[in-house]
Symmetry: C2
């Protein structure tokens, strides 16, 4: 696995006037390449691209995705959608998460005044409350039925159960069922050699359920699939119409296990400083769980990939301390004050812990972008 | 273990106009009791109380701690201290973390214009840079030497190594070594029956090093210890002068394993809503890793303690989904739209993910407090 080139921070070490740590630095060239390649893939697969903004939470990056051909944005929470519409100018939003509770229904109605909104639902209870609210407001809400193709998180089970739910929801006033969606996250947990087969099976089962509903007269226009690791496979299934990858804009250590993407395709790095060398085999970084989060990866030991020092393991995190265990040959490389770059294990959650992205272009911090939808959990 | 009474959210269920979820709700009565009892304990032990604000990050709560007798605040990062001085009016800050790098040294000098600041250091490198900056600015910085009493994170090893570091730092212009500090976090990882012995041993070793340095003429006025789990023990060691607990204001599931504190002493709960019931034995909550964080606890399986439903296990978290596995007797209790309360495994990191605390008093949300130092990792 090759080390990133260009290394975002490598170019700007010493730029103390702009680079206090820990900080999230983004290599603009890698970011733009990642966005362009996924857009090209979607075109080649004949599906629309509706990226999940959870990875970046940043209006500027959503606009790059739209400019590259994305049809709209996928958000989890209404708060994310509110930011993407207000700050990012998005006009077509999929809320890939059930809207439950009066406060959120009120906000959904307000959001619908400003953008086209589709909501994913997987229960008659949530759909019933939305139906009553839409009918009372004289509105019609487009709905994707969320389908469980094997992840066993949310969603009605693909096949009979999902078809029955879709039929019931299609009968409710104020709702119009226009699609089926799945998040085939079970592929991410599988052995690398198994991911293609699992992703294809998930896509085929979803398409089959859509065909069955169409035969009954339901206008299922959209068959939508998610997950960056499975992105190369599920969208190629005939009948899938839309893909919703998120992580691909930045990539992270979790993706290394598939053998296709290494650190050179990871656009975001956590810049950190060595703040302590309490023992010959131990360094402490100023990036702890409040910068990297605790997510582990099957691809690499420890809590992140230190660019250029991959045998130095971030063995433990507390809130503000990243404890690095140093092999013999790395003991001179981590001096107090040294700057390092870490590719996070799970980039989405690292982004959610920060307030801004430093955009590096030509070896300089060219711009600072606010992570405007950070923490929008409601 | 008894279930919390009063249950913060139990009183305000249905108050949809104020309570969208996920949200952090704080029972003011429990909070005030926790603050008062720790202040009383510090007085009885004859030590000063300098609470770590990392748990709450909220100026209003720091002010309650100061009003109850705390001598000042402990912060990890300068960004936290900046907030506590500007928004909270703190006048005496311990930065229990090494200050490394020019940007932080500049901010430290600015902070010293507004408050008394002591910095913990564990390296000659960090101390040298600070010494040069202080001498150039004509200032003197008070320093605690950070000592490793067994946690093996940061800090010079207690005894010879710490004494040698203290001697060297005391010779540097612009610095005045006034204390030794340790974070006896190794106690938290120990078996509950072992915590007292480990904490006492850590305190005694630290006091012994302080005595040795005093015999050489160093004016070691402060011997400072940390950690809420060890708080009942380490401060009782003769010669310890200061304690820095943090978690005690809220408490969390991690503390249950010591058998002294249960959910009735947990002031903060994550209010969540059931958003999906995809299977008879599975419910999905709108609180995932972006609300609860991934920290596990040795005290309870899963990702938090559901108040009143402790046998329902939050088995898996993704960013926005908390997947609850329901035992037979809980299957009717988790309906779509139901509100529940979760005591987080590790409350400090849950607070760091949110923007505000809803303060519940007499069954109503009485105030909203901004978590003003959230995310201040620099």
């Amino acid at each position: 696995m090759t080390v990133a080139a260009p290394v975002a921070l490598g170019e700007i070490v010493g730029a103390d006037e702009v680079l206090d740590t820990p900080a999230l630095v983004v290599d603009r060239a890698i970011l733009e390449r990642n966005i362009a390649e996924m857009a090209a893939f979607a075109r080649s697969a004949g599906v629309t691209l509706r990226p999940h903004i959870k990875t970046h939470k940043t209006p500027e990056i959503m606009r790059l995705q739209l400019a590259a051909g994305a049809v709209g944005a996928t958000c989890a929470k209404i708060g994310e959608a509110e930011v993407m519409v207000a700050a990012g100018g998005a006009t077509d939003i999929l809320l890939a998460y059930p809207t439950v509770g009066e406060p959120k229904i009120r906000r959904l109605l307000a959001l619908m005044e400003r953008a086209r909104v589709t909501v994913a639902l997987d229960s008659r209870e949530a759909a019933g409350a939305l139906s009553r609210a839409m009918a009372a407001a004289g509105r019609t809400l487009e709905v994707y039925v969320e389908v469980n193709t094997g992840q066993d998180r949310a969603g009605a089970r693909v096949g009979d159960e999902a078809a029955a739910l879709a039929r019931d929801l299609a009968r409710l006033p104020g709702l119009r069922v226009t699609g089926l969606m799945t998040h085939e996250g079970q592929a991410n947990a599988a052995a690398p050699d198994d991911i293609e087969g699992i992703a294809l099976a998930a896509g085929r089962a979803l398409v089959e359920t859509a065909h069955r509903l169409r035969a009954e007269g339901l206008a299922i226009a959209h068959v939508s699939v998610g997950s960056t690791p499975a992105a190369a496979y599920t969208p190629t299934v005939p009948g899938v119409t839309e893909m919703r990858p998120g992580t691909y804009v930045f990539n992270d250590v979790a993706g290394f296990r598939y053998g296709k993407l290494g650190p050179d395709r990871c656009a975001l790095r956590v810049a950190a400083t060595v703040v302590s060398r309490p023992a010959a085999d131990r360094a402490v970084l100023d990036a702890g769980a409040k910068a990297l989060a605790l997510d582990k990866s099957l691809a690499h030991p420890g809590h992140g990939w230190i660019v250029g020092h991959e045998r130095a393991e971030i063995a433990r995190l507390s809130e503000e301390h990243g404890v690095v265990v140093l092999p013999e040959e790395e003991r001179d490389a981590f001096r107090v004050g040294d700057r390092i770059e870490i590719v996070p294990n799970h980039v989405c959650v690292a982004v959610n812990l920060a307030d801004e992205l430093l955009i590096v272009d030509g070896g300089r911090v060219a711009e600072t972008w606010a992570i405007a939808a950070r923490g929008r959990v409601r």
